[in-house]
Amino acid sequence: MNRIAYKALSIVILLSAMLLIAVPAFAASGTTLEGSFKTMPAIILISCIVLFLVVGFMNKAEGTADFYAAGRSISRVGSGMAIASNWMSAASFLGMAAIMYGSGYHGLSYVVGWTGGYCLLLLLMASQIRRFGKYTATDFIGDRYYSSGMRFWTAIIAIFISFCYSVGQFGGIGLMFKWIFGMNYSASVIVGGLVVLSYTLISGMLGVTKNQIVQYIILITAFLIPAFILTFKFDYFWLIPELGYGRVVSDIVAGNSTPFINSLGHAMQTVPQPEFAMPWDTATGKDFFQWMATCFALMIGTAGLPHVIQKFYVVPKPADARWSVTWGLFFICLLYWTAPLYSAFGRILSSNPEVGNLAKDAIVVYTAQLGTVNPLIVGFLAAGAVSAAFSTVSGLLVAGSSAFSNDIYFKLINPKATGAQQINMARIATVVMALGIILVALLKLALVAQLVALAFSIAGCTIFPLFLLGIWWSRSNRSGGIASLSVGGFFTVFSIFYFICGKFGVALPGSAFVGYWLNPWYFAWIASPLAILANIVVSLNTEDTPEHIRKHLASEVHGVR
């Protein structure tokens, strides 16, 4: 880990040095937020992608065993960084600030939901999952519920979750490509999507974990530097920007004037806007129930996401699984503590009506621009956003395509398939998925954070209940698992169906009711408890779990001797 960290650090220093050298050339900062092709940001972005590929090649995995063992040469701090980088996507980097910019305190339910879920994961599952000793979430469910049908449907759900999660990411990548290369949104999504696809196909076999450490260092540096600059420049407490922006929030609430202007020459002041910080403000259109439901759904979703759970199978020991979660959460919090800062500065810097409506999902970058942060550092910030999306998307595409090639094609369709055939299947699945994602991303259905929240709700009401009861209640059996999955699946389909019909203007009976109580961003708040209930009721009324499974669970997972 140390060598990798040094390498990454030296590369970051090199990049920063390059930026400084090139500063004079960019002294004339732009006065418009959008617009033309931006040379230096483009160079920074391309060098970041090349860097990931180079690090990947340097740590190339020789085979499956090596691939999994890669985790074993990495310290707990290192795998914590890998967890953080795997976790943090465009939704964390761009989406959270966007939703706080638009909906104020409601946005904090995303910040809290996406961190608090790790407590659930650690306390209830992390080391138990590691001790169960499988490689993927699908494997766990297939074995624990001794059913190839369950394996199939979990694989389908895992693919679907990866899909929804990625749609949000592609939206984020599209926005950043649009900003850097000055293309329109659709062209950006297509180009950005194809770049991620090629990157995933090339890097699919490379050293993923070590790459994620480098990606983490780049994205956290890119995110924190402008935070220091903004607080310093506008005379807030800059040594800890995460505390310093507090006065910005109070200034927005009270409408205080500041002596500063933004890059467009507008005063850095707003009319009093308590709706930015006051809880469940009517002006945001979000209420108390929605705050709680969103927060809860995101938390259980965190503990049910296949690509997150999978991380615990590749650490050497159960203790490492626990400590890497703790380190991972700390590294995640470094970004989450800072994200509201961007929404607050964004709000006060863009308050002048002349600024007009900004694309919320790009507010992090616009904020840095409005705060006259050096264009190169803004470019680095945009590149950080793309890196965040890249690391997550390539992980998701690999997870989705391997669920198809391994869990569906190899285990269920063609058990005689050779390794080469499986890899080909995985590649085809990756391409098909990526193209599908691009198509859906073009529709621009919702904000990045909301699209990602959908993936969490699905995971929270399908996979989370199966893991929770599968680990903690040996009586939970195949029939119970099927019942649980059916309930979760029903709510998923129901909520998405209503949402899509609503988007295309088809009025369904009770759509206001469904839109409020079973909204796609948080329907898991009720679907998950109902799935758990279905599992319990059906399990109690059917045959007991086979002894070999109870024995494995008791002795291997819970240490009963």
Binding site: V111, S250, A319, W337
Partner: protein, 231 residues
Amino acid sequence: MEESKSYDVNFFKPSTPFLKENIRAIVIGLTVWAVMTYGFQILLKIMETPTPEATYVAFQQAAPKLADGTASAEEKVAVANTYLALLGKSAALLKNDTLKIAFTSTVYNLLPDAEKETLLAAVADPKANVDFINTALGIGDNKAMMAAVPYGLTEISPDKLAMTDPALKPIMDKFFIHNQSVLTDTIVFGFPFHYLYTALILLTSFVLICLVYCQVIDKMMKKYEMESSFE
């Protein structure tokens, strides 16, 4: 443990001393987690009082007098400034014609006769100098309010001024009344306390819960000589 029954695992009926201790640690951790996350939000909800902004209070006192023609010059200014503060809140409100008519009408009404014509001319010209309005409204040092003025101007007919409109009440209630309490009004490190708690303290406590739990479990594993056998 020969009987198959001993292989039953149930979170609520731990069968071994290790499981008992482990589950106790989990329950304590989850309780702290749940109270800190949801307990605080529930407290926030229980303690809140819908509180109107100061400008809205002034508006509610002045508006009836405006309607029956008894409003003083200060009260007219208060009403106009409330409209302006509302306009400045969001881009969507800048497009609300009822609000713009109410604002322009009130400003027209309170201006001295000599400046009424200037206002009507300014309405037609987006680049017109509106300093006389800023002066009349006493907002010369408030750049955010001044920035909203040109956006609030719209065409009106001077003989039929609509200075108040019942349609504006729901909008004003929505944007001017906030859920406040001592938790939101106390300022700590510059933050409203509830914001500091949710955005920073809560996240930090998640990390601490994980840290403490890891240490407790590591000790427990040593005590029961558990994890060496899992490697």
